[in-house]
């Protein structure tokens, strides 16, 4: 279970998260929606451990462990995975080298046996096939020249390879065509399990038709302004965020 209490976080002296509370029990999928700039990506980065964001107050625990005391790599080993809103291109780092280094680092940290190169190749090929990723793409440097949609799919490939227990998907649906959306959603749904929690950040109700959330939260002004069940997303689709923007005034 993920438990966030009274989280305050700032960047460059600007407070973005202002007392955020959130609980995601094991096995549940929670959607986070909210206007642009409300702090959704900030929350995702803070969960993953990006250094620039300074947590000034509050706590985050994951299955009882204090995430705030852990470095990003330790959090990954503990099961945290962030699918980035904007996956970065890394010239010169071969995708396969990156994937193998990442997966074996995490396996080692979890006390699992590291994959040999041929074993790993087989595992990657299997996962890539399910996500309809052309293996030729994996021969390129990481994300280099990948289309927006290809980058998002590559994020989900990494997620399935790293076998996380807390998945945070930051607008993984944006930039995906209709078919890709279904492939990615299927990929995510395959990972749904009783001991895995997920946070799905999205602007669109459409994704939530495929990945049906247990709870929906609206983030506004750095706080959870409203929570509800899956129907809340449908309601927001009609009414928009006017209500929440109003609060800001």
């Amino acid at each position: 279970m993920l438990e966030i209490k009274n989280l305050h976080a700032r960047i460059d002296d600007r407070e973005i998260l202002k007392g955020l509370d959130l609980k995601v029990p094991a096995g549940e999928v929670h959607a986070i929606m909210g206007p642009n700039g409300s702090g959704k990506s900030t929350l995702a980065y803070v969960l993953a451990g990006k250094e620039e964001y300074e947590v000034t107050e509050g706590s985050i625990t994951w299955n009882g462990q204090n995430l705030l005391e852990m470095g990003p790599d330790e959090r990954a080993a503990a099961g945290v995975f962030l699918a980035f809103q904007y996956p970065i291109e890394i010239p010169g780092v071969a995708t396969m080298t990156f994937l193998r280094t990442a997966v074996n680092s995490v396996r080692k940290a979890r006390g699992q046996e590291e994959y040999s190169t041929p074993e790993f190749m087989r595992v990657v090929r299997e996962h890539a096939k399910e996500l309809k990723i052309d293996p030729e793409m994996l021969k390129r440097p990481l994300n280099m020249g990948f289309s927006g949609g290809e980058k998002k799919r590559n994020e989900i490939l990494q997620m399935s390879l790293l076998e996380p227990s807390l998945c945070v998907l930051d607008e993984t649906d944006s930039g995906l065509d209709i078919d890709a959306l279904r492939i990615v959603a299927d990929g995510v749904n395959r990972l749904r399990s009783p001991d895995r929690s997920m946070i799905v950040i999205t602007h669109y109700q459409r994704l939530l038709n495929y990945i049906v959330p247990d709870r929906v939260h609206v983030l506004s002004q750095g706080q959870v302004a409203r929570s509800g069940d899956a129907d809340l997303a449908l309601e927001l689709e009609k009414t928009g965020y006017a209500e929440f923007r109003g609060e800001a005034a």
């Binding site: 993953a48 790599d73 890394i90 010239p91 780092v93 280094t101 997966v103 680092s105 995490v106 790293l162």
Partner: protein
């Protein structure tokens, strides 16, 4: 105001003159008048300018005079056997293991018994010991031996440049060279493997090694040349190595130079490449060792349609200093030159990359680009770069760029967020930075060996 400057020699400057007086009569070719004249003229050139210092524009960032407190005596060759194991230790097993014809120059002398002389000759290569050649210098080699490294062009527009100032490092090489090799591929000769010229010095008492390698590729021939420089010990080595590569029409060379000397060594190197019509030079310089290293590279396009690509990487730490200074002269039309230099600087190290491209008035359609990049891993590291374009023709495409920065935190976070511990993530990014230059090496075993050497330097392995 020009005041006559009183010649005040530093200790090292005087030492070098003394070294010459001490060994002059015993140097190879001492009996040969032409050679003796080349040597004495060169010494006079050196004496007229002394060691380079920071007020000499090309040595702005490398004040050799102040960094060289004394000059060591020339190495006394013992001629002792050097085992494969020792070579492996000096070069690293990977680099020593590259399948190639070996030419070994140790203690300033060519060592035929450690070299693949017979095999090379069977393949049609002409090979001579420099020391033997100096005893009876053939006329056609004279200009090569007497090379001063002077700029060839650009005087039409910049007449002041006609007053050539001798290069003291080349002058010292001419005055003091003790050995080396001369390798020639005649038309039609072809080698099935690279040639690995291994230079080993620095054993025992502090000493200087002054060597020369001359490689001539006649029309249409090609060669894969690896030059490695390493130490046999760590008591103090001052090296002055000069390599001349002459590429005939349509000749092609893949040239990798690996500098792997011990952390106390001083490495002064000159490379002069002359490019015939349609010739192709693809070079890589890898600088890992030495406390102070200076690589002077001159590329002269003498025939139309030549293509040159020069790439380099320096991985430095502690107080290492590595300076690579290039002059590329486009004297004729339709030639292309590319330079890409990468420095990874840790500790208090300092990297220097200076590249000057000169385009002579009739060298139209020249395409010249250069890029120097540094990755600074510590507060104390410093990178100095100075690109220079002297363009006297109007129809050319020339450009230069330079960047210097730290590891990108966003990239680092992305890798760490995937579970990769920070040191490994940093190493991956550094490897990627250097990789862009390493990729230019066409010889796969060399590229792989240097990629592995880079990983070793970083203290990681990505299999």
């Amino acid at each position: 105001m020009d005041l006559p400057v009183k010649q005040l020699r530093s200790k090292a400057e005087q030492d070098l003159l003394d070294v010459f007086s001490a060994v002059n009569e015993a140097l190879p070719g001492a009996e040969n008048k032409t050679v003796a004249k080349i040597r004495s003229d060169a010494l006079a050139d050196y004496a007229s300018v002394g060691l380079p210092h920071r007020r000499v524009e090309a040595w702005k960032y490398t004040d050799l005079r102040s960094q060289m407190p004394e000059a060591f005596p020339l190495v006394q060759a013992s001629g002792r056997a050097i085992s494969d194991a020792e070579i492996e230790t000096a070069l690293s097993p990977r680099i020593a293991g590259i399948d190639a014809y070996r030419l070994v120059v140790a203690e300033g002398e060519f060592r035929p018994e450690l070299s693949d002389v017979t095999a090379l000759k069977e393949k049609g290569a002409e090979l001579h010991s420099l020391a033997e050649t100096l005893e009876h210098l053939p006329e056609e080699l004279k200009p090569l031996l007497a090379e001063s490294g002077y700029q060839r062009s650009g005087f039409e527009v910049a007449p002041t440049a006609t007053k050539q100032i001798p290069d003291p490092i080349i002058a010292l090489n001419k005055a003091l060279m003790t050995g080396g090799v001369i390798l020639r591929l005649k038309q039609g000769a072809a080698l099935d493997k690279p040639v690995h010229l291994i230079n080993l010095d620095g054993e025992g008492e502090p000493s200087a090694s002054v060597t020369r390698a001359i490689v001539v590729l006649e029309k249409g021939t090609s060669l894969d040349l690896i030059e490695s420089y390493a130490s046999l010990g760590g008591r103090g080595l001052q090296r002055n190595a000069m390599t001349q590569i002459v590429l005939g029409e349509s000749a092609a060379i893949e040239h990798s130079k690996l500098q792997l000397e011990d952390a106390e060594a001083m490495h002064l190197a000159n490379l002069i490449v002359t490019m015939g019509a349609e010739a192709r030079y693809n070079g890589f310089q890898y600088s890992l060792g030495a406390r102070l290293s200076r690589n002077d590279v001159r590329v002269l396009f003498e025939g139309e349609g030549g293509t040159m690509s020069f790439n380099g990487a320096a991985l430095l730490k502690d107080s290492q200093h590595c300076d690579t200074t290039m002059v590329v002269e486009h004297m004729v039309p339709h030639c292309t030159s590319r330079e890409l230099y990468k420095a990874v600087l840790d500790g208090d190290s300092r990297g220097v990359f200076q590249a000057k491209v000169i385009v002579a008035p009739d060298a139209q359609k020249t395409d010249g680009k250069q890029m120097g990049q540094a990755l600074l891993l510590s507060q104390g590291a410093e990178f100095d770069t100075k690109p220079e374009l002297e363009i006297f023709a109007d129809d050319v495409v020339c450009g230069h760029g330079a960047t210097s920065g730290q590891i990108d935190e966003d990239l680092l976070f992305y890798l760490e967020a995937r579970g990769i511990p920070e040191p490994t993530a940093r190493a991956l990014l550094i490897q990627a930075f250097v990789g862009e230059a390493l990729e230019q090496i066409e010889d796969e075993p060399v590229r792989e060996a240097l990629t592995a050497a880079t990983a070793d330097w970083l203290g990681v392995a990505f299999d």
